[in-house]
């Protein structure tokens, strides 16, 4: 955009290049083991569990596809096209399950549905059954796993599909109606096909989360790639085999990335040009209204209402015992990690996005993409990719220092908070880069030019013009990363320093010890913070939809 002296371009480019390369280290590390050839551990994996990992992952993906599509599309259609009592509430309440990490909903349902839980106790009391008089489905199974995942992942499909339905111009649907199609046939033949790219984008995001899930499948005893990586690493201590498993998992992920990118591009073609008044909502009859109400109520209750109520009840029940100084230490640890990392992520994102705006070269664009590819990569994989090079570096430094000075440096990088913060950054930088990039894109280039012409250097322009204008976006970017880090489980579990616990890790440990009620206080903290970005998200959606019409 603005020409620079060569050195200035080089300084930004060099900085961005170095960050991108650093952030690519985990993925490169993991892939580098593909060429290591197979060792005994790998052969053992292939002979015994690999087929299970693949088939379980496929079954989970199939189940989640079914679950998220059926819930997501139905609710999106009802809340965007139809009118029924409670629609305005469900519009945003249907997003709330996003606040609940899958592993937390899994513990909660296990507690609710197990033998001594409220559901079975209630059934026994009502029907006067004895302990062995009835069959009850086992939630801790692969079917339970995809149901749990679907309940908290359907909002991805709901969100994107609903946006697509709302963007469809009323004229298209009216054209279909005028050609003799009823509202329902218009939905199946016009609205749904037009929303297809958005649906596929939402689905591929949900499937990426499914592949990345560790807590749910571990707790339900469903062997998949993530649990396999974890076990190979912790149980067998085999970095090579763990990395090879991770590369295989990444292949699945890359297929999803390609699908997601492709359908996003398709979605652009499917969008209507210009804003047109939205079609009048379909007025449902009283009976139809009730059906719609219940269709939206069920996913809300199952995905958020009931588990939240259960967590709350457990928290109150166990508060006296659980809310103590240890608990406050957990909160402090989690907050510290999340705040520091989300601030760092924001600084990096500002540097990269603004550098991209200033230099605007293809190389820089590529580097920014590389640095933000972590969003699709499961935390387990990133953890492996971080710990291997860090451990190697530590050992090399240690060996050298022992040889030279007869002094052991110990572990400087691995096994410290540094490794953990770095892996969080790799995983979540995309979130802040995305927010900052889109917000910067809305600031007209003439703003930069105006400030520069009045004697301000590029960094001063960023501080005095862009950052104040983007203030609310920057806060949102911090918050989104903050919540993601609070929820993150597998990388934290693998990389945390000895005896360093966070809310997520503690909830996982207590649940693994079958102390489900005791896990609730940590879990509910995570869910409560998770609600904040959901509210922000629904606010920004309404603002985008209605606000801009009024302001411009």
């Amino acid at each position: 955009m603005i020409p620079f002296s060569k050195q200035l371009i080089d300084r930004w480019q060099l900085g961005i290049l170095m960050i991108a390369l650093l952030f690519a280290v985990p993925v490169i590390t993991v892939f580098s083991f593909v060429f290591h050839g197979s060792n005994d551990a790998w052969n053992h994996l292939v002979d015994t569990v690999l087929a299970d990992y693949i088939s379980n992952s496929l079954i989970l993906m199939l189940g989640v596809t079914f679950g998220t599509l059926s819930i997501g599309i139905t609710t999106a259609w009802l809340t965007s096209i139809c009118d029924f009592p409670g629609r305005k509430f469900f519009q945003w309440a249907l997003l709330l399950p996003l606040a609940v990490p899958a592993y937390i909903i899994a513990y909660t349902y296990t507690g609710m549905l197990d033998f001594s839980g409220p559901v079975q106790t209630f059934l026994r009391e009502v029907f006067n059954w004895g302990p062995r008089d009835y069959w009850f489905p086992e939630i801790r199974s692969i079917n339970g796993a995809w149901m749990m995942l679907s309940l908290v992942l359907y909002p991805y499909v709901y969100l994107l599909t609903r946006a697509a339905f709302l963007e469809q111009s009323s004229v298209t649907l009216e054209a279909s109606r005028s050609l003799g199609m009823g509202p329902w046939r218009s939905f199946f033949y016009v609205a749904l096909p037009m929303a297809r790219p958005a649906i596929i984008t939402g689905l591929s995001l949900a499937l990426m989360e499914t592949l990345a899930d560790f807590g749910t499948v571990e707790y339900f005893g469903v062997p998949t790639f993530t649990t396999g990586i974890f076990r190979t690493w912790f149980g067998l201590g085999d970095a090579t085999a763990a990395s090879q498993l991770a590369s295989l998992l990444l292949l699945f992920v890359f297929v999803l990335i390609v699908i997601e990118r492709f359908s996003r591009r398709q979605a652009r073609y499917h969008q209507q040009i210009g804003r047109q008044a939205h079609a009048r909502r379909i007025q449902l009859s009283v009976q139809q209204g009730w059906v719609a109400f219940i269709a939206c109520l069920i996913p809300f209750l199952l995905g958020f209402g009931l588990p939240f109520a259960q967590l709350l009840a457990w928290t109150i029940e166990t508060a006296e015992e659980m809310i103590n100084s240890d608990f406050y230490t957990l909160v402090a640890h989690s907050l510290l990690l999340a705040i520091v990392t989300s601030l760092l992520a924001l600084l990096l994102a500002l540097f990269m996005a603004y550098g991209q705006r200033l230099t605007n070269t293809p190389l820089v664009k590529l580097m920014v993409r590389i640095a933000s590819m972590g969003y699709a990569i499961p935390g387990t994989v990133i953890a492996i990719g971080v710990v291997i090079p860090f451990a190697w570096l530590d050992n090399t430094v240690d060996d050298w220092s022992r040889n030279q000075f007869d002094f052991s440096t110990g572990l400087i990088l691995s096994g410290t908070l540094f490794a953990l913060v770095f892996s969080y950054l790799v995983r979540f930088l995309a979130v802040s880069v995305g927010s900052v990039e889109s917000s910067l894109g809305k600031i007209k280039p003439s703003m930069d030019d105006a400030a520069r012409s009045m004697g301000y250097r590029p960094m001063q322009v960023l501080r005095q013009i862009h950052m104040p204008i983007m203030k609310s976006t920057l806060l949102t970017a911090i918050l989104l990363v903050f919540v993601d880090i609070l929820k993150e489980l597998p990388a934290t579990l693998l990389l945390r320093p000895f005896n360093f616990n966070t809310l997520a890790v503690r909830a996982y440990e207590l649940a693994a010890d079958e102390r489900l009620a005791d896990a609730s206080s940590a879990a509910i903290m995570i869910v409560l913070t998770g609600i904040i970005p959901v509210i922000l998200l629904s606010l920004s959606i309404t603002r985008n939809r209605y606000g801009s019409d009024h302001n411009d």
């Binding site: 955009m1 020409p3 002296s5 012409s453 250097r457």
Partner: protein, 363 residues
């Protein structure tokens, strides 16, 4: 004028060229602007005028040539001064007011940095002075989105003028305003700039704007500066057929040179200076402006009216000269003649503009 041309110009462009790949946006442009002058770059869209302005500002970097602002070289083979060090002010097409700052803070923005830096009380004084000058003394605490387009435009001007830049650059400053507002603002803005004694360059595609504001107008075509002259000369003495066609209305009438002072044309015998190197029998084109044709009911020279446009104070008649050519005539609007009737005209060509016709083309 003789004295000013002796002094060093505020802005001096020498052989500026800039290409994007194979697209030559600016080709070998030379241009000087003297202290206190308002210059204008005029041309159709894509002619390179905005790129030239942005090169002067430092937002674009020419491939060749030298730019000097008040005796210091800001751009040549080895030098590139970034925009923030050029001591310029700029008014943007979309005004580019900072949405998060009040009007006062927008205007004071350039007084906090660089060469224009002032202390707080001097800043306040300057801001108040400018707000009064743009007739918006009472809106200092409002925010840009609360202002009308015309108000935003004036605030953008005040903001650019605040640090008393060596050079004020205006990039299509009126194009996002209503047409009625444009003319009124153009003269007001020119007055303010003159009052501040600041040298300015304006980029526009609207010749009325150029004529209303500028001391000198540069006409650009396909990256080349065709003519750099006063508005009067550009209109009455265009140096090329392109300039003649671009500026104002007019028709080219073919003619034959009779002698060094006489041309025989479809409009009759015309006296005036013929182009260099035109011998008798040489084919030429004569530029006929609507104001060269005077309506005269008594004239024997009568032409058919084939179109007329009512413009309030006057009629613009299109008259049929012969099968190939029409000419324009402006008549006071009480001279209302019906379509297809005959209109009497006489010629009043005090300064004729004649171009030698290239050999290959037919009349």
């Amino acid at each position: 004028m003789g004295l000013t041309t002796m002094t060093n110009p505020i802005l001096n462009l020498q052989a500026i060229s800039l290409s994007y790949g194979s697209n030559k946006v600016i080709q070998n442009i030379d241009l000087q602007i003297q202290e206190g002058e308002i210059g204008c770059l005029l041309g159709s869209s894509g002619c390179g005028k905005t790129t030239l302005l942005r090169s002067i500002a430092g937002f674009e970097k020419p491939d060749q040539g030298q730019i000097t602002i008040r005796n210091s070289v800001v751009n040549d083979k080895t030098t590139y001064t970034p925009p923030e060090q050029r001591n310029i002010g700029m008014v943007f097409q979309d005004f580019a007011l900072f949405p998060h700052l009040s009007v006062k803070k927008n205007i004071a923005f350039g007084l906090n940095s660089g060469k224009g830096k002032l202390n707080k009380s001097a800043q306040n004084q300057r801001v108040t002075e400018l707000l009064e000058m743009i007739d918006l003394a009472d809106i200092g605490n409002k925010f840009p989105h609360q202002l009308s387009g015309g108000q935003q435009q004036r605030v953008a001007l005040a903001r650019a003028l605040a640090p008393k830049p060596d050079l004020l650059l205006l990039d299509e400053p009126f194009s996002s305003l209503d047409i009625e507002l444009r003319e009124q603002l153009a003269t007001q803005v020119a007055k303010i700039i003159k009052h501040e004694g600041i040298t300015a360059i304006l980029v526009t595609h609207d010749q009325n704007e150029a004529f209303a504001m500028a001391d000198k107008v540069g006409l650009l075509q396909a990256g080349k500066l065709i003519q750099w002259d006063t508005p009067y000369n550009l209109y009455h003495q265009p140096n090329t057929q392109y300039a003649a066609n671009f500026i104002g209305q007019g028709t080219m009438i073919p003619g034959l040179v009779h002698d060094s002072n006489t041309i025989i044309s479809d409009l009759g015998t015309i006296h005036g200076k013929v182009p260099e190197g035109c011998k008798p029998k040489c084919a030429v084109d004569i530029l006929v402006r609507p104001d060269d044709i005077i309506h005269d009911d008594d004239s024997l020279n009568q032409l058919e009216i084939i179109d007329k446009v009512f413009r309030g104070a006057e009629f613009l008649y299109t008259l049929k000269l012969n099968e190939q050519r029409n000419i324009f005539c402006i008549a006071p609007s009480h001279h209302d003649h019906p379509l297809h009737s005959l209109l009497g005209i006489t010629l009043d060509m005090t300064h004729i503009v004649v171009f030698k016709r290239p050999k290959a083309t037919n009349p």
